[in-house]
């Protein structure tokens, strides 16, 4: 047990802290390297809006903004203050919907993103792995070969293009699914069957598009892992003893081939924030991606900073959690 903690847990937690340190430091440095000063931009934006502002007011505003962006004091002081605010969970007020705190905007958007992306990622992972294992084991099956070709043909295409084509076909050309949003505008968000049904109906197209693109990668990976494993001695032995093929696949091959795929799943969960961006913009889904897009359009600097920080911490945490439960699947790690 002591050895397990020292050799497995400690390095992983150290890695977690390193990633967060690196990510947060990067997010701190990037804006300071940029030639554009957010304070000046904000001030000039206000002056361009045409309202008359006295020079004194501008100086006062400049000071207030410098304070709010955490740009006062030496770089080192700024850096420590940056960490201090982050650890207190204070991401500042959003500039575009002042004075709503950034953290509150994120909290409203997050359930939509997670509710759609976690099922999408899990379904793609399961479907891709099961089909991939079947494809690796029954190499000459016609049906599975067709699945192979199809999934590989869609896989390399950028998500945006797949989503756009699906939207054009299933919402515009053959309108069986709603065009955009998570629910029709004007609907009250509540817990009722009819509302749940509406939300579900709106989520089918984005969900399908994510799964369609997600399955391919897992499929290829699992197929090659399986075809490496089927020549292992224990599989050959199981075949010689005359065990049914289905049982060999489900109890001998899949549990062993699956291990690298679990690590992959951790990284995939981490990509939630990137995956959400395009999907939500295309389908007008009210989650983190749309929030990011709106923040960019509205020049909302604090909101973008908040999203970047949150995604770094979120991704690292997802990876850590999966690393921590990984020994449950792999007895070799438990008994080192």
């Amino acid at each position: 047990m002591r050895k397990f903690v020292l050799n497995y847990l400690v390095p992983r937690i150290a890695q977690y802290i390193l990633v967060i340190f690196l990510g947060v430091t990067l997010t701190f440095i990037i804006p300071r390297l940029s030639p554009n000063d957010p304070v000046e931009r904000q001030v000039s934006q206000l002056m361009m809006s045409g309202s008359h502002v006295s020079p004194e007011a501008i100086i006062a505003m400049r000071e207030a903004l410098t304070e709010m962006y955490g740009l006062s004091g030496s770089v080192w002081e700024q850096y420590l203050a940056f960490w201090g605010r982050l650890l207190r969970g204070d991401l500042g007020p959003s500039l575009s919907s002042f004075p709503t705190p950034v953290i509150q905007l994120l909290a409203t958007a997050m359930p939509w993103t997670f509710g759609l992306l976690i099922p999408a990622i899990l379904i793609s992972w399961i479907v891709g792995n099961v089909l991939g294992a079947i494809a690796g084991y029954y190499e000459n099956n016609r049906a599975i070969q067709i699945v192979d070709i199809l999934s590989q043909a869609i896989r390399p295409i950028p998500y945006y293009i797949v989503a756009l084509v699906m939207l054009a076909v299933f919402a515009y050309w053959i309108p069986i699914f709603p065009f955009s949003g998570a629910y029709p505008p004007g609907t009250r968000v509540e817990f009722s069957w009819s509302f749940a049904w509406t939300v579900l109906r709106h989520s089918i197209l984005p969900l399908l598009s994510l799964i369609l693109l997600g399955v391919g990668g897992w499929f290829v990976g699992m197929k090659s892992l399986t075809s490496n494993i089927i020549s292992e001695d224990y599989v050959v032995y199981a075949e010689v003893t005359g065990l049914p093929k289905k049982r060999i696949l489900s109890q001998y091959i899949i549990p062993n081939a699956m291990l690298p795929q679990i690590t992959g799943l951790a990284l995939q969960l981490g990509l939630i924030f990137s995956g959400a961006l395009i999907m939500e913009v295309v389908f007008g889904y009210p989650g983190m991606g749309t929030l990011t897009f709106q923040a960019v359009m509205a020049n909302d600097y604090t909101l973008i900073m908040g999203i970047t920080l949150l995604s770094i911490i979120g991704v690292a945490t997802a990876v850590l959690i999966l690393d921590l439960i990984y020994p449950l699947f792999d007895p070799r790690v438990r008994h080192q």
Binding site: Q152, Y159, T292, S311
Partner: protein, 285 residues
């Protein structure tokens, strides 16, 4: 090299399709040098003409012939892919070789930096960056930035290869005959690693060109430069689908599908060619 090419053409259907698709893409990209006007000029042709013999891809609402525009777009997207690939390959090869060969503390330090980069979410960081640069993010800068983020997967792959090469007899022979470490890794190990580097290069290009599409569609790159992504951006700006100018979107989608399928098929064909196990199974050994 030529013999390998010939064999792949003869025996691998995927390689044949990939070559055809990539030829078409390169041909289109080469057309950029014959364009009658630079891509920044607008209203050179009648607006919104559907595809015809005279304008194979149609014309857009900004009065540009989509064939010429797409030629520039593909050329620029490919340039971006190549720059990113070169930068990230250099880092990956360096980190992979050093980490694998030196081992010990250097290996652990490099690999934990490596793993941190694997986990860092690139897209939000790029969004923050391009937001701060406000459209000043040129194609080359974007390519360099992507290069800085695109190496960790491949570095790990190269390191794994070097770890096994290190145990082989020829490495020991080289060490005992006094070859300095730098020369040894460059002369003895690098050639073994290059096929993997080539395969991952293609994959890296798929990734970087796709990233560019994502950023440009959101209007976060320099939208005056034609790329596959900025074409879609302009089509969306002019609401091409609503206006019925579907060919404005069809052109980049078609070109992207051909380019991406071509690269991907090439990647999987080469990958299989490199891995002797799959090759042996194919010929039934």
């Amino acid at each position: 090299m030529l013999a390998v090419f010939r064999d792949l053409l003869r025996y691998d259907g995927r390689f044949r399709v990939a070559s055809l698709f990539l030829m078409l893409t390169l041909l289109l990209a080469a057309l950029a040098w014959f364009s009658p006007y630079p891509p920044t000029r607008t209203f050179m042709t009648p607006q919104d003409l559907p595809p015809s013999l005279e304008h194979p891809f149609g014309t857009n609402s900004r009065g540009q012939d989509l064939l010429w525009w797409m030629a520039f777009a593909v050329r620029n997207s490919l340039i971006l892919g190549v720059i990113t690939a070169v930068v990230s390959r250099l880092i990956a090869i360096f980190v992979g070789l050093v980490s694998g060969y030196r081992g010990g503390f250097i290996d652990r330090a490099l690999m934990s930096a490596n793993d941190s980069f694997v986990v860092l979410p690139v897209l939000p960081i790029l969004v923050l960056l391009s937001f701060l640069l406000q459209g000043q993010l040129s194609l080359v800068t974007l390519a360099l930035l992507l290069g800085l983020f695109g190496w960790p997967w491949d570095a790990r792959l190269i390191r794994a290869q070097v770890l096994s090469l290190k145990e082989r007899a020829f490495t020991r022979t080289a060490v005992y005959s006094g070859t300095p470490p730098l020369l040894l890794t460059l002369r003895e190990h690098l050639p073994f690693v290059l096929p993997v580097v080539f395969a991952t290069t293609i994959n890296n290009m798929l990734w970087s060109i796709g990233m560019e599409v994502t950023l440009s569609v959101l209007g976060l790159s320099d939208v005056t430069v034609p790329t596959i992504g900025t074409t879609i951006f302009w089509a969306n700006q002019h609401q091409a689908l609503v206006a019925g100018v579907w060919w404005w979107l069809a052109a980049p989608i078609l070109v992207a599908v051909v380019l991406f399928l071509g690269l991907y098929l090439l990647f999987s064909s080469v990958n299989e060619f490199i891995d002797p196990r799959t090759r042996l199974r194919r010929i039934g050994a």
